[in-house]
Structures are given as C-alpha cells and as structure tokens.
C-alpha cells in the first residue's frame, strides 16, 4: 500500500509547525512505504499527487482551545468552497481528486493539539509530547496496511 504523509502548517508560528516536525521524524526513520510532503498549506495542484496513493495522512495542528489529546479521524471527500481560496481543506482536496481523476484514497487527519502559535520556530513541550504520539500512531497505521 502506498502511503502519503502530508504535514502542513506554518513552521514559523510555533506549534503550527507540528506537521513539519512529525514528517521530519518519520522521514528520518525511512519507512519503506511512506512518502512524505511538508507544506504550508494545501493547494489544488496536490490532487495530481494524491491520486497516486492508497492512503493519505494529513498532519496538522489542532487550534481549538478545547483540544484534548491526539485526534485521528477519517476524512471523506466533500467539497466546500474555501473561505481562503488559495488553501483547501483535506476533504476538499480529496473531492477535487475524486472529481478530476476518479481516485479516492483512504484518508485520515491526524490533528495534534497546539498551544503556542506565536512567532518563532519549535514546539512547546506539550505539543512535542503529542507529536511523538502522532508519530507512533502513523507508523502503526502504516504497519497495519503493509
């Protein structure tokens, strides 16, 4: 099974860079069936890449104040007009992929709690802890599908 891991967010805004952190850690472990991408945001051109994978895992920071722990949720293709037109939600990206290429990879969003989104690089201790849990969960998902 071909797995694509997309970590996205703004690494210059503290915990918003957790997607980049998770991808970097998994890259260093050189897992055979996981391809990786780090991005600041999702754009429509990604549809051409996403279509070639069986499983796509999106990793992003969870901004909500009520965020409790790691959230791993399946994401279905569903287009919603984006408020920010230059960015897309994972669901919209999958909908675009489905409409354009008739491909609908299985997909999950791994949402890691973030607490500090001020200017600066690096994660706070709490987010780093949840990032490690995210890494383990993603590796587990990959192993389950080998």
């Amino acid at each position: 099974m071909r797995v694509l891991l997309i970590g996205y967010g703004n690494p210059s805004r503290g915990d918003d860079g957790v997607g980049h952190y998770v991808v970097k850690e998994i890259r260093e472990r050189a897992v055979r069936n996981i391809s990786t991408l780090t991005l600041c945001q999702l754009g429509p051109e990604l549809a051409e890449t996403v279509k070639d994978y069986d499983l796509v895992v999106f990793v992003d920071a969870q901004v909500s104040q009520s965020a409790e722990g790691l959230s791993v949720v399946p994401v279905e293709a569903a287009y919603r007009p984006s408020a920010f037109t230059h960015v897309m939600s994972p669901a919209s990206l999958l909908a675009l992929t489905k409409a354009l290429y008739q491909k609908e990879p299985q997909a999950f969003i791994v949402a890691v709690p973030g607490y500090d989104f001020d200017f600066g690089t690096g994660l706070c201790d709490e987010t780093t802890k949840w990032a490690e849990a995210a890494i383990e969960r993603i590796l587990e998902m990959s192993r389950e599908r080998e």
């Binding site: 754009g43 051109e45 287009y79 909908a95």
Partner: protein, 472 residues
C-alpha cells in the same frame, strides 16, 4: 425606509472583505462600499529589524503572493545597499516571478472566475465552484491543475520552497539553477502554452457571447498604471507608465520616484488606503492596475503569441479597454506572456551561470523596490540607519492600487443588479464577481489574518439590522 446590505466576507478572493449596500426608501441601491476590516501592521513591526531580514519577513504578508513580496523586498534591499544583481541573478529572479504569474493567474481564472462565467452567476452556489467546473468541463479542469502545478514547480525548483522562500538575497540570489531543473521547465513550456491558449479561447468565447453583460457589468473609465519596458508589457523591471482615461500618456517615471506621483487617501470605513495620481488629485487621479491596467498602458508584448493576442485585445477599443470583465482576458494574455517568457529565460545562455551575487554593502539609508505582482504594481520602500536597521517602511500593495476601482465596480454592479425588495443569491454573487475581476489579495493589501465566511446584512435607513445571510 432605507436599508443597508452587507456581504461579508466576499468569497473566492484572497483575504477578508465586507460589502455594505445602502438602500433608499424605494428599495433601490443608493451607495455601496467594500470595507477591508483587517489590519496587520507589517510596516510598523518591521521597524527595528535588519534590512536583509525583510525579504524573509514580508513574504509572510501573504500565502498566495509571497514571491511578489520576496522580490519587491529584495529589490528594495539591492537599492539600499547599492548591490546591482549580476545579470544571471536578475534572470533567475524574473524566472521565479514568471512561475508566480503562471500559478496565480491560472488559479484565478480556472478556479475563481470560471465558476461564475461557465456555470452562471445565478447557478446553485453548491455547484458554482471548481467541482462544478470539473463536472462541466473536466478536461479544462485538468489543464488548470497542470498549469498551477507548473508554476508552483518553477518556484519550488528555483527557490527550494513553494511559498515563503529564503532564496533571493540583497545583490542576487543564493542558489543557481541546475541544468536538470532548467530542462524540466523547458520541457513543460509547450504544453503550458497550449493549456493557456485553451483558457483564452474559453474566455474569449464567453466574452463574445455575453457582450450585453460585459457592457453593463462594472464598465467604467479610469486612468491606468503599469510597468513597461521600451513600451512593452513588463512585469519585473522597468519604468512605471500612467495614462489617463482617454489613453493619453500622463507619466512614465522611475519606480523609485513613486512618491512624486502616487499619494494615498485614507477613509474611515476601511483599512485599505486609496492610492491615486498625485498631480491630478483625488478623485480625478484614480487609476486601475493589474492585467487590464498593464495591457492598457502597454504598446506591445515582447513575446510572439501573447503579442498576437494583445493585438486582438487592443482592437476591442479605440482607447483603453474599460469593462471589468475584460480583466479575465487580460489576465490570461499575461499568463501566456509569462509562459513564453519562461521559455526565453530558460534558453538564455546566462541562466545556468553561477555568477549570481554582488556582495557590495554600502548602506545608503533608503531603498525602493517595485515589481508588477499578479494583482498590480507593488512597492516596497525601506529606510534604515547607518547600520541597516529598519527605521521606516512604506508598502503600496498591488490590490491597494485597485481599491477605488473595486469600490466603483461594487457600486455599479449593486446599482444595476441588486433589488433590496427581492434579494437573491445571484445578485449578491454578481457583486462579489465584480470584486473578483480584480483578483484582490486583501491579506496583502492590509499587510490579514482572518477567516472568510460571507455575511450579508440588510439595514434600514435608521441603521437597524433587518436581515442577515451568512456563507462559509
């Protein structure tokens, strides 16, 4: 009793805007405003930073046009330290800019403008989007993805990142272009040109078939402004030309002298300022920028296919082409130019050179950089102390230059299409579409964080809220 309608925020534009439409006692539109309610303060919080940080800081203004800010900023730094980039570095910077133009213009037409044009202003909003376009014309949609990807790849292969790059530096660029990447870019050009030409056919067919709409939809006169190079369309380096509403040349000035020609008006109902031609004053000196402005001021285009299309564009009118909907056509002509220019740049014998940096650093205390961003003329102006610490910043951002024009467009379209007693979604979409002609980037123009749901509010003459609609 008069009422006020508010559309907030406008969808399928970059950033956050709110439109209020004021209705009179008879239910007809009296006046309309596009408000920009966000403020970020880049000009202020950059003070105290070193000048060479600016090409890294200012692209954070926006996730859609970071390349434009990166390049305008680094050009200001070149000027500030007296380091003229070697020719190969200027070519590489321009190539990065062409990647930006291709991805931005293509994205706008196929994803943001096309749903209104191909599916109809009154189409169900649930399908009036890019997925609706895919269902209506899947081949066109696939081409759009390829165009966007091509532009993004140029940016990524040159600078190492799709957005927020750390590549251009004062005096040049930090990394040369590999032959492998040059060959990749060249290898994709013919297909890219073909896709853009297909897009041009689509917009031309639509415009020809909808001339009645074109002539009554935000069609108005104004001055026009844009960069030229020996009279030809120019997007990277050259003097700025201003023409009046009849097409008569007003000025052609060194971009560094912009403060002699451009002044900004402030209104208390929006954070976005209103630039205008200083010598004619406000409001006589109002002008438009971006694709329609640039093609109206240019005498020709330096690349053959775009110039051929430019001839057809110029033939549309004896003077400047005025209808706002022609922005879409002009945008794709520029897109074609950018693809052809990409080929020229990639075939230039200097493009693979390693001579990419002038390391002179003689801090003069002031530097101005100007570039034609996808959305119009963009100025970065920095002042420093003797050590290069920023003491002042002035940004005149592309979208800001079209602020008056967008307000005028909103006003005209609201007056023509909005009936306060029989409000429909299609009416409101037309108002948004008038703004979308200008492809505004409001994050840039107010230097904005924020979400962008759409809210329409209806107020009576006494200011009481009568009705409210929201989209997100």
């Amino acid at each position: 009793m008069g009422r006020k309608l508010t559309i907030e925020p406008i969808t399928r534009i970059e950033g956050h805007a709110r439109v209020t439409i004021h209705l009179g006692d008879d239910g007809q539109v009296e006046r309309s405003y596009m408000h920009i309610d966000q403020f970020r303060g880049f000009e202020k919080f950059s003070e105290g930073r070193m000048y060479y940080e600016m090409p890294v800081i200012t692209p954070r203004i926006c996730g859609i046009c970071p390349v434009s800010h990166h390049l305008a900023s680094v050009k200001a730094c070149d000027d500030l330290v007296g380091a003229a980039p070697p020719r190969p570095a200027s070519l590489l910077r321009e190539l990065l800019h062409m990647g930006q133009i291709i991805q931005s213009h293509s994205m706008h037409f196929f994803y943001l403008a096309a749903p209104d044009l191909l599916l109809g202003f009154d189409a169900d909003p649930a399908i009036r989007n890019v997925v609706g376009i895919i269902e209506a014309n899947p081949e066109l949609a696939l081409k759009a993805v390829k165009l966007r990807k091509y532009g993004q790849e140029i940016i990524s292969r040159l600078s190492g990142r799709r957005i927020h790059m750390h590549w251009a530096v004062p005096g040049g660029v930090s990394r040369s272009l590999s032959q492998e990447n040059r060959d990749w870019m060249l290898g994709q050009v013919d297909e890219t040109v073909g896709h853009i030409k297909d897009g041009i056919s689509v917009i031309k067919n639509w415009l020809e078939a909808n001339q009645d709409v074109v002539r009554e939809f935000a069609c108005f006169s104004s001055g026009y402004m844009g960069m030229v190079n020996d009279g030809a369309l120019e997007l990277y380096e050259g003097p700025v030309r201003l023409i009046d509403r009849h097409g008569k040349l007003l000025e052609e000035f060194d971009a560094r002298d912009y403060l002699d020609y451009v002044e900004e008006r402030v209104e208390d109902w929006t954070y976005l300022k209103f630039p205008y031609y200083k010598k004619l004053g406000w409001p006589d000196g109002v002008y438009r920028v971006a694709p329609l402005g640039r093609l109206n001021v240019a005498d020709r285009i330096s690349t053959p296919l775009a110039n051929e299309e430019f001839g057809k564009f110029k033939a549309l009118s004896d003077g400047p082409v005025e209808p706002s909907l022609y922005y879409h056509y002009a945008r794709l002509i520029e897109d074609l130019y950018a693809a052809e220019r990409t080929r020229e740049l990639c075939e230039d014998e200097d493009i693979l050179s390693g001579d990419i940096l002038d390391t002179r650093t003689q801090i003069s205390g002031e530097g101005v950089g100007c570039i034609e961003a996808p959305r119009g003329t963009l100025w970065h102006h920095y002042w420093t102390d003797d050590y290069g610490v920023i003491t002042g910043v002035n940004l005149i951002v592309a979208t800001g230059n079209n602020n008056w024009a967008m307000n005028r467009a909103v006003s005209l379209v609201a007056q023509r299409y909005v009936d306060g007693d029989n409000l429909t979604e299609g009416m409101l979409n037309r108002v948004e579409a008038a703004i979308r002609c200008y492809d505004p980037c409001l994050s840039c123009s107010t230097h904005a964080l924020g979400q962008m749901p759409l809210i329409l509010e209806l107020y009576d003459a006494s200011g009481d809220l009568v009705d409210r609609m929201t989209r997100s």
